[in-house]
């Protein structure tokens, strides 16, 4: 008899799982709204400016005492996959952070709700580059969050040791410093005068922008890849020559593997192009782990252009905040975004090494010698084509693969650029 009981219990337990899964149903939709606001932010905020997040949430709660705010931190590599699944099941967050190259696809698919700019703080003075990444067909679909510009981070002491006292103001001088550094230190096989991971396509495209080239242009509603134009090919040739003579970084990884600030902290790098936040990362005990005194030997300057008096345009990367179209309480979501993008909040975000979303806060880091050059560099910037499918070009690694092919000499600049160009044309014109 005992055996029967065991079996019966086992079966009942098994079935109860099945039944409880099968039933349940339709409570979810109504329950989730009103009492809880779900916000998806990237882990950058968790590690970089948690006080801004906490401040926004408490300001929001003062306004809506009955509402809970749950911040759910996401990873860049997987957050859109999770978002797609949540869209399919009508289970979206109320606020989502998106990279400014990710938004266009979702705007075109009408996955985000239209917003009114005048409802948000500083909307008159938003950075135009970010605002553009939130605008589609004349409507606004997200709110600029923050931006980042890149500048050259360099070793003052090494520059001085080869007789260079001030940051180079022209591209020719930039090359001259590099040559001197390689001559003096290049016998060390780990040394790079200028450290450029091969798949850091943002730098390659900065050269293209500097020579008047573009990644793609729109003509009569059709996109055309334009990396095969003479300007772009010239730029990429200059880029290749520079990287191959100055850099000993891997040609098959991007700027996050490893972060250039790590070899930089090890003293084997003369300079590299990085974001503002990479400066502190040099000292991070889990990162570069350089001693505090190392800061005295560091400096930053905007990358000079081959055209005298200008800087090489920097990629204006950044993040936006959007409200998914299926969000159940758009008004609450809007209120939280307002709190999070207030001048106060943006000041904290800027001080963490970013550029605030508004030109009125452009001087926040002016007195910080480490961060001021980054704001200066943002004067000349470029952005990816605003085609709805742009992010697919990134996701298919078209530009990374092109850079690797060029830098490893696996194919000629013209051939690699031509191939990338036709891939870009194909992807951007695919109907979605």
């Amino acid at each position: 008899m005992k055996a029967r009981i065991i079996a019966a219990v086992a079966l009942a337990a098994a079935l109860s799982v099945v039944v409880s899964t099968a039933s349940g149903g339709n409570k979810s939709a109504s329950q989730a709204s009103a009492s809880k606001l779900v916000v998806w932010l990237q882990t950058d905020a968790q590690n970089g400016w948690p006080t801004a997040v906490a401040g926004a949430t408490s300001a929001f709660k003062a306004q809506h005492p009955g509402v809970d705010v749950e911040i759910q931190y996401q990873e860049w590599t997987t957050h859109l996959q999770k978002f797609d699944a949540s869209i399919a099941a009508n289970d979206v967050p109320d606020v989502i952070e998106m990279g400014n190259t990710e938004t266009s696809k979702y705007m075109a698919a009408r996955a985000l709700s239209a917003l009114k700019a005048k409802n948000y703080p500083n909307s008159q003075t938003w950075l135009s580059g970010l605002k553009q990444s939130c605008t589609s067909g004349g409507h606004l679909y997200c709110v600029p969050y923050y931006a980042g510009a890149r500048a050259v981070i360099y070793r003052k002491d090494l520059y001085r040791s080869v007789g260079v006292k001030a940051p180079p103001k022209t591209y020719a001088k930039f090359l001259a410093v590099g040559k001197k550094l390689m001559k003096k230190y290049g016998h060390n096989k780990n040394f790079s005068a200028f450290y450029e991971p091969g798949q850091n396509w943002y730098v390659a495209m900065s050269f293209v922008a500097d020579y008047g080239g573009q990644i793609a242009v729109s003509k009569g509603g059709r996109w055309q890849g334009t990396l095969n134009t003479p300007q772009a090919i010239q730029a990429l040739t200059v880029f290749k020559k520079m990287v191959r003579s100055f850099s000993r970084a891997s040609k098959t990884t991007d700027e996050a593997h490893p972060y250039p600030s790590i070899p930089f902290a090890k003293g084997r790098v003369g300079s590299f192009i990085g974001n503002g936040w990479e400066w502190p990362y040099v000292f991070n005990p889990k990162g570069g782990a350089a001693p505090k005194s190392f800061a005295k030997r560091m400096g930053a300057y905007p990358m000079p252009s081959h055209i005298p008096g200008r800087y090489t345009p920097t990629f204006l990367g950044g993040s936006d905040l959007a409200i998914p179209a299926q969000s159940k309480d758009k008004q609450l979501a809007a209120d939280w975004i307002k709190a999070f993008t207030s001048s106060n909040s943006e000041t904290i975000i800027a001080k963490a090494g970013n550029i605030a979303n508004t030109t009125t806060l452009v001087n926040v880091n002016k007195s910080n010698p480490a961060l001021a050059p980054f704001a200066k560099a943002a004067k000349y910037s470029w952005f990816v084509p605003t085609a709805p499918n742009w992010v697919n070009v990134e996701n298919a690694n078209v530009l990374k693969n092109m850079c690797t092919a060029i830098l490893t000499n696996r194919s000629s600049v013209a051939k690699a650029a031509g191939k990338a160009s036709s891939q870009i044309t194909k992807i951007l014109n695919t109907k979605s």
């Binding site: 799982v17 409880s20 759910q72 931190y73 996959q81 967050p93 070899p263 005990p285 889990k286 570069g288």
Partner: protein, 295 residues
């Protein structure tokens, strides 16, 4: 045409107490080779643990630091003090515990049917459990999310449990079936003579005999469920409801991979599996034996 051994216990006595040939010198050579293979196999694991105890400057060293000469626990404290560590440990334990227990119960019943009954559709079921393992999980992320959302099981541990159950069951059923077939019919019949029903006889006689099989099977279920990442990441939203592998992924961000804490976290994540192994290790050898041979 079926293999003569399939389902039948192997002939012969267990290898033991038999005089070995070759003598001491041969053995020494084999042992040296064994040691070398051990070093080769274990090195990546050693490197993980060693890195976990290293200071930042020793991790990115010009020449590799083979042994943490300046050992530090800071990577571990850093890892443990990340938000929600203990909650995630608890969640992982709950999920794995339920998956192991439920899969054993369900697989026991199904394996009983496969091993002890001839019935129409048995082959179909076998094809089903082999086939299920062929479907790429990534292709099912969205539809599974859809189904679970309809059943109100998203962001709930139970949703993850039942999903894992689906992927663990085929293998566990298969393995347990192998163990059951190995139990000689005479034993069941003997029990029946004693007056039990056939099912009662199964349970009374089978359960102790396939005990090792249950243990061996649970290892597989444990590892599968403990190490899974993508379904847990997609299905669990709330930070306090996530699992250890999802927690581990938070060490890699756009702003740097924290190698030291990541390796410390990885060591901590692997630890429960090793403890589980050690706890039941005596039964493994025998357990896997039976399961394997009668596969």
């Amino acid at each position: 045409m079926s293999s003569p051994l399939a389902g039948a216990p192997l002939a012969g006595v267990p290898a033991r107490a038999r005089r070995r040939r070759g003598g001491r010198r041969g053995r020494l050579g084999w042992n040296a080779l064994g040691l070398a293979v051990f070093a080769l196999i274990i090195f990546p694991v050693y490197w993980m643990i060693a890195t976990a105890f290293k200071r930042g400057s020793d991790i990115f060293a010009d020449t590799p630091v083979w042994f943490p000469i300046h050992p530090t626990l800071s990577n571990f404290t850093d890892a443990i003090h990340r938000p929600h560590f203990w909650a995630d440990v608890k969640n992982s334990l709950i999920i794995v515990g339920c998956v192991v227990a439920l899969s054993l119960v369900l697989a026991f019943l199904a394996a009983l049917a496969l091993a002890k009954f001839r019935f129409y559709g048995r082959k179909a079921f076998i094809v089903l459990i082999i086939g299920v393992q062929m479907i790429p999980l990534n292709a099912l992320i969205i539809p599974i999310y859809l189904v679970l959302a309809k059943a109100n099981q998203v962001d709930k541990l139970s949703g993850v449990i039942i999903t894992y159950l689906t992927f663990v069951l085929p293998f566990t059923v298969w393995t347990l079936r192998g163990f059951m077939i190995g139990v000689p019919r005479e034993l069941e019949e003997a029990a029946q003579v004693d007056g039990s029903t056939r099912f009662g006889a199964f349970v009374r006689v089978l359960l102790p005999l396939i005990g090792p099989g249950l243990v061996a099977t649970s290892i597989f279920a444990f590892i599968q469920a403990w190490n899974e990442f993508i379904m847990a990441y997609v299905l669990l939203h709330s930070p306090e409801k996530q699992t250890l592998t999802v927690w581990l992924a938070s060490f890699t961000t756009n702003r740097g991979t924290a190698w030291g804490p990541l390796m410390a976290g990885a060591t901590l994540t692997a630890l429960p599996v090793v403890i589980f192994f050690v706890a039941i290790q005596r039964k493994i050898a025998f357990g896997l034996t039976a399961g394997a041979v009668r596969g």
